[in-house]
């Protein structure tokens, strides 16, 4: 049996109720429960989290740097997705 090569997990922490989960780091563990316990000890020992996610690193699909142009540049010139694009008559405060 091969020693030690426990799978890698990515850890996400939620800092407070209602906040988004953020990537905190990674660790090694044999299964999900084990990963959760290790994550609690490694990434939440100063009370940094109220919730934890652990995800096998192999389950994450990332965009490639070469995709950066086609993936993200088109989002830059769609000003009409942002509220500042639209004019509202002076003095109207609802917006």
């Amino acid at each position: 049996m091969s020693d030690s090569h426990w799978p890698l997990w990515e850890v996400f922490t939620q800092g407070a109720q209602g906040e988004p989960f953020e990537h905190a780091g990674s660790l090694h563990a044999t299964d999900a429960e084990h990963a959760l316990q290790n994550a609690r000890d490694v990434y939440a020992r100063r009370g940094e989290a109220v919730n934890l996610w652990v995800v096998p690193s192999t389950a994450i699909t990332a965009s490639a740097p070469s995709d950066a142009g086609p993936f993200f540049d088109p989002g830059n010139d769609k000003a009409y997705r942002h509220p500042q694009f639209y004019k509202v008559p002076r003095g109207v405060k609802v917006f």
Binding site: M1, L27, H28, E33, Q37, N38, D41, V42
Partner: protein, 283 residues
């Protein structure tokens, strides 16, 4: 403390300082009964956690894998923190001006009230986790009862410790499962560890006059109820871990009256050396 464990107490050099103290368990029992039972109860609770926390702290940096080093250190920190609060409260109730450090560093082995289980050496990782599991199960049940004590100070410290103890139990029982139902080697090691430590579990549930007197002062614990629930809990984990529960084990006891195994004296010699080499110093 009403009965003493035959044979065991008569072995020479059981703990450092014992010969000088020259007390028999009966004398210890009388002294305890004369004192405040809540102080005695807090010594038991605090010393259990101090000694177990110390044992775990010996492992910092020597664990089987980095993640586990961090987990073990967390448990050690929780336990020593619990001990500090409990001994602080004990010192306040005792009213002799002893704080948690005076109690931790300037008592001899015969004055410690921890159970024998927690002072046993770390051994291999199976023994460390078996000891942790057997204690955690007891600790969760005991603290659960004490968290409802009418004595506010004891209830508060028990409630805070209970949260941590529940996590410890989750961690240690997972390891009992992993090692019990892991490889042949880990199974054998865990079975051996459970077998070796079993004789120190009986003592956890022996009720004596301290419990009775503490109950009268607002800190009641039903040890036979705790034992019944402990049996169920431990049996369940052992069964799932494919481990046998030891039978016909002759139980050892004495910790609650200061009659320890030889291991405690060595532990304290290390723990107290700096503090005792510089009496009166501030750190």
């Amino acid at each position: 403390m009403t009965a003493k464990a035959a044979g065991h107490d008569d072995e020479p050099g059981i703990a450092a300082g014992e010969a000088a103290a020259g007390t028999r368990p009966v004398a210890g029992a009388r002294r305890a009964a004369l004192g405040d039972p809540l102080v005695e109860l807090l010594f038991r609770l605090g010393d259990d956690r101090l000694i177990l926390g110390h044992r775990l702290s010996e492992l910092t940096g020597h664990g089987p894998i980095l993640e586990e080093d961090i987990a073990t250190a967390n448990m050690a920190l929780d336990l020593i923190g619990q001990a500090a609060s409990m001994l602080k409260l004990a010192g306040e109730l005792e009213g002799k001006g002893r704080d948690e450090d005076a109690l931790a560093y300037f008592r001899d082995a015969v004055q410690f009230r921890n159970c024998l289980l927690v002072e046993q050496p770390n051994g291999d990782f199976a023994q460390t986790m078996a000891r942790q599991f057997l204690f955690d199960a007891y600790s969760v049940l005991l603290l659960d009862e004490l968290s409802r004590a009418s004595h506010a100070g004891i209830a508060a410290v028990a409630a805070k410790s209970l949260k941590e103890a529940k996590y410890h139990l989750r961690h240690s029982s997972e390891w009992v499962l992993r090692l019990g139902d892991g490889t042949d080697e880990s199974h054998a090691r865990m079975q051996r560890a459970i077998g070796a430590l079993w004789r120190f579990t009986g003592e956890l549930f022996v009720a004596d006059e301290v419990e009775a007197a503490a109950a009268a002062k607002g800190a009641a614990v039903d040890l036979s109820g705790v034992q019944a629930r402990w049996d169920t809990m431990v049996d369940d984990v052992l069964a799932r871990a494919t481990l046998r529960r030891p039978t016909d084990t002759a139980m050892q006891r004495g910790g609650r009256s200061g009659r320890h195994t030889e291991h405690l004296g060595h532990l304290l010699a290390t723990m107290q050396i700096v503090a005792r080499s510089h009496p009166g110093a501030t750190w």
